[in-house]
Symmetry: C2
Subunit: 324 residues, 2 copies
């Protein structure tokens, strides 16, 4: 029975080994290891992705209502399709819960998923409920679509590209930190944590603008940027003074806003790498969300966090959430 335990191995290498076993073939335009798998069908590109939420690991019932758990379960999965530049069409969900769960809890989770699907122009098409003697677990799979051949990969970044990020960073991690210490977070931060909004419109706009690479920020900016760098065989330079940190972070965490914004997970914003002409058009995005330039792609590998463009390197704060 196979060697090391997952806790000694690390999430990245477990995932890499799983991806290697699954390996795509010619039927997939984009195979395992990206935010979603993509195939071509009848002149459209279809994308599928799956994500799970586990009680005590991904959510605490003391911090959020069952309805919000449903919103989060859907939103986290839909975010992976946003990262392809695609919309969401349908989803299915497995609800796995102990027999002593209240009926209202399960129905509220379902209502949250149904509402989130509707908000995103999609439909919860089915699912399954089953029992466990363990924590409440929800696995959501979403299917979406976009124009043929246009899905934005994880690994398409090129030296010279501009790195951009949607919205603001650090709110979800700050809310979690405050809740864990018994304090009340500002409601917009709490909502980011418990009911993230997938950046679907922003993802489509970035795809149309010509993004070379894209991912969503679920595990934290530095961790997710490192995945883009590795898949693209490039280096991503990020500029601390350009990061769109939540404006009140420094008030709640004096001196701690950069680690929260750069390494805190669950913001579910998008990171995109764009060629120069596209990058110049970023200001013309007309949605409610700002899209900020936060760095550039260069030859090399990994992620460098610098104080400012061409400035000194900043020691990397502790990396974002790891399952193992």
């Amino acid at each position: 029975m196979g060697g090391r335990r997952l806790s000694a191995l690390g999430e990245t290498s477990v995932l890499a080994a799983l991806v290697e076993l699954a390996a795509g073939d010619g039927r997939l335009a984009i195979g395992p290891g990206d935010d979603a798998a993509v195939w071509e069908l009848g002149g459209r590109a279809m994308a599928i992705t799956t994500d799970s939420l586990v009680e005590r690991v991904d959510f605490l019932r003391s911090f959020q209502t069952p309805w919000e758990v449903g919103l989060k379960a859907w939103g986290a999965a839909a975010s992976d399709l946003a990262a392809m530049g695609f919309g969401v069409d349908f989803g299915v969900a497995c609800l796995i819960c102990s027999p002593d769960t209240f009926e209202g809890t399960v129905l509220d989770i379902q209502a949250g998923m149904v509402e989130a699907a509707s908000r995103d122009g999609a439909l919860l098409a089915g699912g399954d409920v089953s029992s466990t003697d363990g924590p409440l677990t929800i696995a959501v799979t979403v299917v979406g679509s976009g124009p043929s051949g246009q899905a934005v990969r994880l690994g398409g970044a090129q030296p010279g590209d501009t790195v951009a990020v949607t919205g603001s960073l650090g709110g979800a991690a700050a809310a979690l930190r405050l809740l864990e210490s018994g304090r009340v977070p500002p409601e917009p931060w709490r909502r980011r944590l418990v009911a993230p909004l997938p950046r679907l419109a922003e993802g489509r706009w970035l795809r149309t603008a010509g993004a070379h690479a894209m991912t969503d920020l679920s595990d934290g900016l530095l961790v997710d940027a490192a995945r883009v760098a590795k898949a693209s065989s490039c280096r991503l330079e990020l500029w601390a003074d350009h990061l769109p940190l939540e404006s009140e972070l420094e008030h709640f965490f004096p001196g701690g806003s950069l680690p929260l914004g750069a390494a805190g997970g669950e913001d579910y914003e998008l990171l995109a790498c764009l060629p120069e002409p596209a990058a110049r058009a970023l200001g013309s995005f007309s949605g409610d969300t700002r899209i900020s330039v936060v760095g550039r792609v260069s030859e090399g590998e990994g992620v460098r966090l610098m104080e400012r463009p061409d400035g000194p390197e900043v020691a990397l704060p502790a990396q974002g959430f790891r399952h193992f």
Copy 2:
């Protein structure tokens, strides 16, 4: 918080309430509550379904290897597409396991899913791994396709239809019973339990033959037949003397073969309701699996188990597996 606990409510009514909340709309050809959801796309019908396996509820590691757990996780999900008369194209899987799980366990489960997908002409296209402090849990979602407008519903049975079942019944339940009492089951029965084969070819053949309604036998013949009866607003009469019980059942369980075959779950055979001309063609199915006539559809509701056609009613054995 919402009324009764799931254990007091029963799986059927929990599922019904979840389905009611999700309710489809015009975008789905077949909505929540069937074996799979179906929508039309580019001249084809697409189907999606999701299913989960939970350690200690759906499998025990002492009875099956991790590789077999992967085979079962895939097979159980694919079986729902077989029940639409469709093939499987792609799948994604969430692997949720504790940090002290061995790497080899996770990789063997993945290898089992990859092998099962390949056997079914499909591809494991992606997935996710995450941590839990609870039991090993696997959620598999599969997407398949078939000709436009041709998916076989749960609720299409009509009075006068013939009820047919593929393969044989009772092997999986018998294997579980033997393993639980420390005995060694015949290997074909053990394989049915730990690595069920989705009846994809049989499902396609039954669809082409003109089946009005179809489902897979995961929870046991009587429970699954009752779902068809309810969705079709008909009665299903089943004839005990026609049931294709595993031939050695009576040897291992004297007097107990009927309850195992009629109420034991996890055989993953198909039950189909066919109009008369189609029913006469059943003998011409040329696959390895026999398709047996086991009853007929009449006006009324529910399921009646009779000794033989027009014979006396048999007291129903205890119903199949219930999650709640």
